[in-house]
Symmetry: C2
Subunit: 239 residues, 2 copies
Amino acid sequence: MAAMRKKKAVKTPKGDQTRKLILDTALEMFRERGYEQTTMRAIAEKAGVSLGNAYYYFRSKEFLIQAFYQTMHDDHVALALPALEKDDTLKTRLLTVMRLKIEVMKPYHQFAGVLFKTAGDPQSPLNPFADEANPVRQASIQLFEKVVEGTKARIPKDLRAELPYLLWVYHMGIILFWIHDRSPKHRRTYRLIDRTVEMVDKMISLGSNPFMRPLRKHALALVDELRDAADDVLDSDDN
Amino acid sequence: MAAMRKKKAVKTPKGDQTRKLILDTALEMFRERGYEQTTMRAIAEKAGVSLGNAYYYFRSKEFLIQAFYQTMHDDHVALALPALEKDDTLKTRLLTVMRLKIEVMKPYHQFAGVLFKTAGDPQSPLNPFADEANPVRQASIQLFEKVVEGTKARIPKDLRAELPYLLWVYHMGIILFWIHDRSPKHRRTYRLIDRTVEMVDKMISLGSNPFMRPLRKHALALVDELRDAADDVLDSDDN
DNA sequence: GCGGTTAGTTGAACGTGTTCAAATTCGGTT
DNA sequence: AACCGAATTTGAACACGTTCAACTAACCGC
């Protein structure tokens, strides 16, 4: 009941500055040496603060990953929103958003392997799938709401309501692929995006057809159930 | 080139015994207290060996997870093979295998959260998706080969060839769901299995239809590409 | 300016995963 | 029975993530 959801320990501009300094330093070192190779001590030293101070702003090393997520998302939105002004079909809008996401994450490719380390652990507070209330996840889904909103395509209400979430899951899948993708310039990922966006677009058209109503209802019910199961895990609080 | 793939350090019956002792102790403690809460020191102490000795048999704590995978798989096969003698349709065979898998893993539900912790990290030698040569994965796919082999259903060659792998991926998805499933007696997972096995069966029938050949080719090509991308990651060796 | 409350900062200490050189045991050979 | 090399076992040492009690700085009402 009385579980607090506050994350930021920042209360003053001074703290904001220190927090940013530590995060920037950490991300820079993650980029250069990877996550495991970067120690909290090294981050603190390079940032010119004490070890304990780093823990004042980031509850654990893993929380730096969440901050990284947040940063990536902010950058992504900053690029995507203006770009979305121009596109109008669902297909082009989705394509734009997906490509920009890869663009934004590019510098962190070798570090990104850890992103999914906690994704499967229901206990982890960083699991983006298991925590309905996770603000990064919320914000991320919101972007896909914008992708859907802006289209004139006729999409049934039930599907339209679920679509942002579905697209978000799809986008997580693409990121998972990208993490493993070693092809030069991530060509494979871009090709996969091209192909799958096409497929997604077709499936939405198909699924919007009145004839598909029963199947669609069935499939959406299944999706709901999957989501419920994942979200039910917020019972246990600490640890 | 000269990368060695040996995992077992066991050369004598004595070693086998100690290895088993350590593994059994570890799994028992994982069951009771979970993975994080169980320290290597505690395992060693309870098993009556030294800390270093545990590391002689298991390169790291994570490798105990792989051994756990292996154990689960062995148990699963031991139950599944006899059961498969009786079933003959693809649907019933798959249903049997899936239910037994959950049955076997049941005692480890709360520990199982860590199973997917490394699943997303391309670097990890434990990632079952990224290591084509992983013997546990091989053996696991083999079981699904048996599921497919035993059916008389007409399945096109190209699909039949890929099907065991596809079913294995499907089964990993179910496990991921099960990990998050907090419903009493895992009812939700069993229901999901019932539903999805039905769907899988229908999709195989559908996909086997000659009319679907172009779409099937297309989809299988995509699957191949996904697999390639995951497997390409075995370039880097140590660390 | 002063006292007090909160924000921010420090570094020592602890627990845990991991490594390693040295010691011990084992199985076979002479 | 003595010996040798390999397999096994040991425990101390190290590095790193994390915690925490104590300290300092900043701010606010008076």
